[in-house]
């Protein structure tokens, strides 16, 4: 459901069915709603059977990359004699994205159950749930739920009486966007600075504590119990568009809409229906100007690109952007695109881990150029400079944070060039505080 709003007829509530229902937070409440049946079932399955079921469901990573989950699990070695780890990425920090937060604070047992099943699938001995430090309420809810699951014998040395050991440890971050990048997450978990690592080695070969590791997003893992319960064929039947975009997806819609919230859609729902029917559309008298559909790291879309676009992985790519995390930022005609691009660049400059030169220097330089442009001190050459910086920040660094900073700059200039020119020509200027 579009928490805090009631379920809209165009939603497909699966993961979100119990958002807002505080009783679902307890073991008894979760069981009364059908919880832990999937884990019971999975405990009687072989790891291969679980992996095959998830492969057949078509589930793809819901954190942003969209990599097939079952395939990712199948990369984990078998019979290598080493400990394996599952990391659940609950470091949700991508601007515009607030979907995992609802899973964490309303249905923590859905995540615990998903982690437990994932752990069985990859033969892991422990799941580390890395939750961002700012998520205080979700942290307390999840901590209580894990403790209760241990007390109820669902987790621990004899999980649900199966004789199998399932351990879940909650690890709290401390304020760093970059720790949502999977290799930075592992470094942070190991007690290091959150600097991303060069791949290879890939996590399935050498991940956290140098052991085979899989990292999955909260929403991905929370979907797994439904797939085990209701079957891969059911999940794979959920699509309104592409055969490659299957299942449901939580879309967090924010910005200039009348009903911001987290909506669960069958993949492929037209983006206009999502924005206008589910999220209530624009405020009275306002028109749509731009949409960032998948968290701040994906290209900005124009209303023409939104028109007729299915909300799925392939459809949004065909319109020049990405589904990403499903964090949708909607902007109406009051929005100053140049200012917002600067604000996003400032975000990335603030969050750069600073280990790669192109990112450390490029994000800060980009921000400074945009700030001076806004302050009325822009130069004719600034557009070329920004594009050149963006080029040097794309595909040149260990992780994609600097690419993510370049993305709104390139798409902003490409699609809203006249607004940049207005600042450069002196037709507009703002009283902007240059902070960096």
């Amino acid at each position: 459901m579009g928490y805090p709003h009631p379920i809209h007829p165009k939603e497909t509530p699966v993961l979100s069915t119990y958002f807002g229902d505080a009783e679902a937070r307890t073991v008894a409440g979760w069981k009364a709603r059908g919880g832990y049946q999937a884990l019971q079932k999975a405990l009687a399955m072989t790891p291969e059977q679980i992996v095959d079921e998830v492969k057949a469901s078509g589930l793809r990573g819901r954190g942003g990359a969209g990599f097939p989950t079952g395939l990712k699990w199948s990369f984990m070695p078998k019979d290598d004699g080493k400990p394996h780890y599952l990391c659940c990425n609950a470091d949700e920090s991508e601007p515009g994205t607030f979907k995992d937060r609802e899973i964490l604070r309303w249905t923590p047992h859905a995540l615990i159950e998903g982690c437990a099943i994932g752990q069985l699938a990859i033969r892991a001995e422990t799941t580390y749930i890395y939750i961002r430090g700012e998520f205080t309420e979700p942290f307390h809810v999840l901590t209580a739920a894990v403790a209760e699951a241990y007390a109820a014998g669902i987790l621990g040395a004899d999980a649900m009486g199966s004789g199998k050991r399932i351990d879940i440890v909650i690890h709290r971050g401390a304020g760093a966007y970059i720790c949502g990048e999977e290799t930075a997450l592992m470094n942070s978990l190991e007690g290091r600075r959150g600097n991303p690592r060069i791949k290879p080695p890939f996590p399935a070969v050498s991940g956290v504590f140098a052991k085979p590791t899989t990292i999955n997003n909260v929403e991905t893992l929370a979907a797994v119990p439904h797939i085990i319960n209701r079957g891969a064929a059911w999940y794979a039947s959920l699509t309104l568009s592409s055969p490659k975009s299957l299942g449901t997806k939580l879309i967090s819609v924010c910005g200039h809409v009348q009903r911001p919230g987290v909506y669960e859609i069958t993949l492929g729902l037209p983006m206009q229906e999502l924005i206008y029917d589910l999220a209530g559309g624009m405020r009275p008298g306002r028109t749509l100007k731009a949409v960032i559909p998948g968290g701040s790291s994906v290209p900005i879309m124009t209303p023409a690109e939104v028109d007729g676009c299915p909300t799925d992985y392939e459809g949004i790519v065909s319109r020049g952007s990405m589904l990403g995390s499903g964090g949708m930022i909607v902007m109406d005609d009051t929005t100053d695109i140049v200012y917002q691009v600067m604000r996003l660049a400032r975000f990335y400059a603030h969050e750069s881990c600073a280990q790669c030169t192109n990112c450390r220097e490029g994000t800060a330089w980009t921000t400074r150029v945009l700030e001076r442009m806004l302050a009325g001190k822009g130069k004719e050459s600034d557009i070329d400079l920004l594009m050149s910086l963006a080029d040097n920040m794309t595909g040149k660094t260990i992780c994609v944070l600097s690419d993510s900073c370049a993305t709104p700059v390139v798409s902003g200039i490409g699609k809203f060039r006249s607004e940049f020119d207005a600042y450069i020509s002196g037709a507009r200027s703002l009283d902007v505080v240059e902070v960096s």
């Binding site: 601007p95 515009g96 961002r132 690890h171 401390a174 600075r193 930022i329 975000f347």
Partner: protein, 166 residues
């Protein structure tokens, strides 16, 4: 430097705090992995992370104090100096920014008397900082006051929110 210049430094890792740290050892294959949790324990006990505590953490986890400082300074949530009684983080990243978050931030600075971001009010009651994306973009403007997550704050509700934090 510790803000307790006239009072000798009292170790953090004794009694209950030490027990909490020790209870975490079996959960990780390496001691170093306890670094973030240990720093949280320090902040929970002291309200900030004094340099002396970094030495203590280093000793507990068999690391160097320089290493601990290197990690502690990477993360934004560890306070490396004392802060006001109530620590306010206001999200002004784009999704909240387009919904009026910068006005809320300005109002907070005026009403708390902090005047500048990162500064503590003269009465020691508040410190206000901007934070990058609190992950609650549909509930603009979100604040994190100490451990309390407060959604949908507007310029008009700032006063009533602050009144809850004497």
């Amino acid at each position: 430097m510790s803000g307790h210049d006239t009072v000798p430094y009292q170790p953090v890792f004794v009694g209950e705090t030490l027990a909490k740290l020790e209870a975490l050892y079996p959960k990780y294959p390496e001691k170093r992995a306890l670094l973030l949790p240990a720093l949280w324990l320090v902040q929970e006990a002291r309200g900030w992370v004094p340099p002396e505590a970094m030495h203590e953490v280093a000793q507990q986890l068999e690391l160097t104090a320089a290493y601990v400082a290197g990690v502690a300074t990477f993360y934004t949530m560890y306070h490396l100096h004392p802060v006001g009684r109530h620590f306010i983080q206001v999200c002004t990243t784009s999704p909240c920014g387009i919904c009026g978050a910068e006005d809320v931030a300005r109002e907070l600075l005026v009403q708390t008397g902090c005047r500048d971001l990162g500064a503590t009010s003269p009465d020691g009651r508040f410190t206000v900082v901007e934070v990058e994306c609190l992950g609650a973009c549909g509930f603009a403007t979100p604040l994190l006051i100490n451990d309390d997550f407060i959604e949908s704050v507007s310029v008009d509700t700032v006063a009533s929110v602050l009144a809850r934090y004497p």
